[in-house]
């Protein structure tokens, strides 16, 4: 792999690090796919009792709705917004196109999340930009390319380091473009609160506030030994340099995935062990699907359990060798759950959150003879089982995405979310895992028949007669669908029985890819 090295920030002749940040990304994709919501407040996030906002459109932000605000509070602030479940498959499809545009610019692209990435222009194949004007030209051209291909706006910041580029992209959001000239870094940093610096969280900010430091300018008054005394050698020294705009972090493409995880916050505390086991089984299966689709295996399984009083406990177990065997991971997750739950519920009853993660990733799987034996035993009784299970309808709706809506952003980055079609995979996996534990989603058992299936606000659907649309609301056995799509004008609504056989869920990723295709081939 001959990647051009990222030049040290202090030797850059031009502000050639770009930070590209899509504006209100999830909400913007929703507004684009749902024309009736354009120009209106849209909130994407966990819609349940304990959901938090993932993204609010700028119209909703005017009411004070921000990321990470509890959805219940957002509803009071902005009752008229559309509250939608995230459609990660759609965001992923759009993100893939944006990241591709960035890679066409320079091989050094570091995705931070689905909607955010750094690009090092010093590695451009046709030569690095020599001055700020060239950087500005490249950034503006990039913004218009993103707008053309996706119909969405991005804010771009440029500077001599990742720190400055990120500060700059934030400066004129949305639809902004700010390039900080070489030598002008401190003018931009000085007025910022210390929290704007990379790595400064509530704990560090709190310590600094106690000694009267609130802004970067005030921070720069402190000597390095002051900071080292306050925060320790490594972090103190690092912060001393960051305050001076010295950020040596290189733009690193494809940071290797260290772990893959999934977690759910439950609308009501899980109280009995059977429900917890079913939930952790579902999480483990989800994680294994993602592990496999990334071509990985893993060695360490971690389970996280958060009790009603927010006591959070993690337990992990390391296999003798890496695996991608769903059975092994599920078994380990249940063992760990049984260990973690008593600790998490020591002083209050009920579990509000469960998570399962796999780390120690590898690209090979040690065969397991306990699992092999189980396979042999299953093969023996397969004929019988097949005769009995033959009636399976496989009609479970794609619940996978909705379930992840409550998870914290996972460290796997843009590839971490379930691939399109994960819902179908879920149904298949449940079929395979046989008699273990009944599968549940956030909302109860996986519906096996139409009458029991759930429609989620924002979900893509198709009606046999009236065509594609999205679920505007559902409840008491009814579902309201607005018939419109990315390429239509605002559409009309129709209300149906929730078990209407004419109504089918659509894959959000496919809807998004179709919209991107029609944009590319001008009609």
């Amino acid at each position: 792999m001959d990647r051009p090295p990222s030049p040290a920030p202090l030797t850059r002749q031009a502000p050639s690090v770009l930070h590209v940040d899509m504006d209100a990304f999830y909400a913007a994709v929703e507004q684009q796919h749902k024309p009736s919501l354009r120009g209106k407040p849209v909130v994407v996030g966990g819609v349940g009792l304990r959901g938090v906002v993932s993204t609010a459109s700028y119209e909703a932000r005017a009411f004070g709705v921000r990321s990470a605000v509890p959805t219940a509070l957002a509803r009071r602030l902005c009752p008229n917004a559309a509250y939608l479940y995230p459609r990660f498959a759609a965001y992923h499809a759009v993100s893939t196109v944006v990241m591709q545009l960035l890679r066409e610019l320079s091989p050094l692209v570091e995705p931070v999340s689905l909607d955010e990435a750094f690009v090092d222009l010093a590695a451009m194949p046709d030569g690095a930009p020599r001055d700020i004007e060239q950087v500005r030209g490249i950034a503006e051209e990039l913004r218009s390319r993103i707008a053309r291909r996706t119909g969405l706006t991005a804010s771009v910041g440029g500077g001599t380091s990742k720190l400055i580029a990120k500060v700059a992209s934030d400066a004129q959001k949305p639809d902004g473009c700010v390039i900080v000239p070489v030598g002008g870094e401190l003018d931009w940093l000085d007025p910022l609160p210390v929290r704007a610096l990379w790595g400064v969280g509530p704990a560090t900010a709190d310590r600094l506030r106690k000694i009267g430091v609130g802004t970067v300018a005030e921070l720069r008054v402190l000597t390095e030994s002051d900071l080292v005394g306050l925060l320790g050698t490594a972090w103190g020294g690092m912060l001393f340099r960051l305050a001076r705009g010295m950020d040596a972090r290189a733009v690193e493409p494809e940071r290797p995935t260290k772990s893959i995880s999934a977690e759910d916050t439950y609308p009501h505390d899980l109280a009995d062990r059977a429900a917890m086991r079913a939930a952790v089984t579902q999480l483990a299966e989800r994680v294994v699907r993602r592990l496999r689709s990334a071509g990985h295996t893993g060695r360490t399984v971690t389970v996280k359990a958060r009790g009603h009083d927010f006591t959070t406990v993690t337990r992990s177990e390391t296999f003798g060798a890496p695996t991608d065997d769903e059975r092994l991971v599920v078994e380990a997750a249940i063992r760990l759950l049984d260990d973690a739950v008593p600790a998490a519920t020591a002083s209050s009853t009920g579990i509000r959150l469960l998570g399962v993660g796999i780390s120690g990733l590898a690209d090979y799987a040690q065969g397991d003879l306990v699992a092999e034996l189980a396979r042999l035993e299953r093969a023996l009784g397969a004929a019988e089982a097949r005769a009995q299970a033959g009636a399976g309808d496989g009609g479970a709706p794609g619940d996978g995405e909705a379930g992840t809506g409550f998870a914290e952003p996972n460290p796997a980055g843009p590839d971490g979310e379930p691939p399109p079609g994960a819902g179908a995979g879920a149904a298949a996996a449940h079929g395979e895992s046989g008699p273990a534990v009944p599968a549940v989603t956030l909302f109860g058992p996986v519906p096996v028949d139409r009458a029991a299936r759930r429609w989620l606000a924002g979900q893509d659907v198709r009606h046999a007669q009236r065509g594609p649309g999205w679920v505007q609301g559902a409840g008491v056995g009814r579902v309201t669908v607005r018939f419109e799509g990315p390429d239509t004008g605002p559409g009309r609504i129709g209300t149906f029985r929730a078990d209407d056989p004419d109504l089918e869920p659509l894959d959000a990723g496919e809807v998004a890819r179709e919209a991107l295709r029609s944009r590319q081939s001008p009609a």
Partner: protein, 378 residues
């Protein structure tokens, strides 16, 4: 209590018994060794509620009695004594040990607090000490060290008439050894799951006598239920059995193999060790078989790589199988034969190592080491 005993006899008995003492005793008395002088016999016993050990030697007893002293200290002292007769006497709450010009005074612990050692189950049969130790070491190598699933840390013992079968697995490989022994009854039948490490230590320490008696209670409610006992040359030890079912491992052995390769064991071990130098943290080693040869490969494009080709008796279709090099080496070491036969079905199904006394001799199925291959993704 007062008795005289030869230094070597005492040191051996104490060292053997002290082996089973717990490193962190759950109660202070369990750090002790119980000395009992009675009817011309000195008995040294230790117990930690899991494992008990008792060693008997003949002595000149002047005054019968018992004393409980620190086992670790007594073992260290007896090991370093000069080769002279040792005289041990209790005086009040102390024990005095005199050997030549050396004199030690040890505190004793209350004998009444010491638990009674479990009773040995009735004898099931006997086997030559060395044969047993070898068989156990061949099998224990495959047992797991992680006690998440207790049955993986045990050796399964199956008694079926004159056949004694040992099996162990850590879920990645499985070793099975069959040996003939002398059962007490021709129709003897019993199964037990014994902690592998304990069994290995016991078998190794009982090779001095010619025969080892194995005692396993066949039915529920019999003396020594839940225990297995071993006895050889005045030494007896019991250990608690592990609970839980062992896997039904017979089904894992393929009924038919696609093919087999035969390779000289010692050079193969050397080659695997060399090639595995680039296989960090037991990343896979690949065995690529083609007509008359096998090529070993390890490492990846991003890091160091190694390969080595050697002769093999092989005339099937080319096949490539990957293994954890550590598991492969332990299996090759355990077959204890000049030639190794690797039988396989596909590159992801269990492969089986057996030994051959010569390249053209039949393989010896009395010991089988089954190993799960590594599947390479991408």
């Amino acid at each position: 209590m007062k008795f005289r005993v030869e230094r070597d006899v005492l040191a051996d008995a104490v060292a053997w018994t002290a082996r089973s003492l717990p490193a962190r005793p759950p109660a202070p008395v369990l750090a002790g060794l119980l000395l009992r002088a009675e009817s011309g016999q000195l008995t040294v016993s230790g117990f930690d509620y899991e494992v008990s050990a008792r060693s008997e030697v003949s002595t000149e007893i002047e005054q019968e009695g018992t004393a409980l002293v620190s086992g670790k200290l007594l073992a260290e002292i007896t090991r370093s004594l000069p080769n002279r007769p040792v005289e041990i006497t209790t005086e009040g709450s102390k024990v005095t040990l005199v050997c030549g010009t050396s004199r030690f005074t040890l505190q004793t612990m209350p004998v009444d607090d010491y638990p009674a050692l479990p009773q040995m189950p009735g004898a099931s049969g006997a086997i030559a000490g060395n044969t047993f130790a070898n068989a156990v070491s061949q099998v224990a190598v495959a047992a797991g060290k992680d006690d998440t699933l207790p049955f993986l840390t045990g050796v399964r013992i199956e008694i079926n008439g004159d056949t004694l079968r040992l099996a162990a697995t850590d879920r990645y490989r499985l070793a099975v050894r069959e040996i003939l022994w002398k059962p007490e009854r021709a129709d003897a039948e019993a199964v037990a799951l014994v902690p592998a490490k304990t069994l290995y230590d016991i078998a190794k320490s009982l090779t001095s006598g010619e025969w080892v008696t194995i005692a396993l209670s066949g039915e529920d409610g019999a003396v020594g239920e839940g225990l297995i006992g071993f006895e050889a040359g005045g030494r007896r030890t019991t250990t608690r059995l592990l609970e839980g079912e062992f896997i039904k491992y017979n089904a894992l052995f393929p009924s038919e193999y696609t093919g087999a390769a035969v390779i000289e064991t010692a050079p193969l071990i050397e080659a695997v060790k060399r090639v595995a130098l680039v296989a960090e943290r037991n990343t896979p080693i690949r065995l690529n078989f083609s007509a008359g040869q096998v090529t070993l490969e390890a490492g990846s494009g991003d890091e160091a790589q190694a390969s080595e080709t050697m002769d093999a008796v092989f005339d099937e279709e080319d096949i490539s199988v990957a293994f954890n090099p550590g598991y492969l080496l332990e299996g090759l070491g355990a077959i204890d034969a000049p030639f190794a036969q690797l039988s396989y079905t596909t590159s992801t199904k269990p492969a089986v190592l057996t030994g051959r006394p010569a390249v053209d001799a039949d393989h010896d199925p009395a010991y089988r080491y089954l190993i799960m291959p590594i599947r390479l993704s991408g």
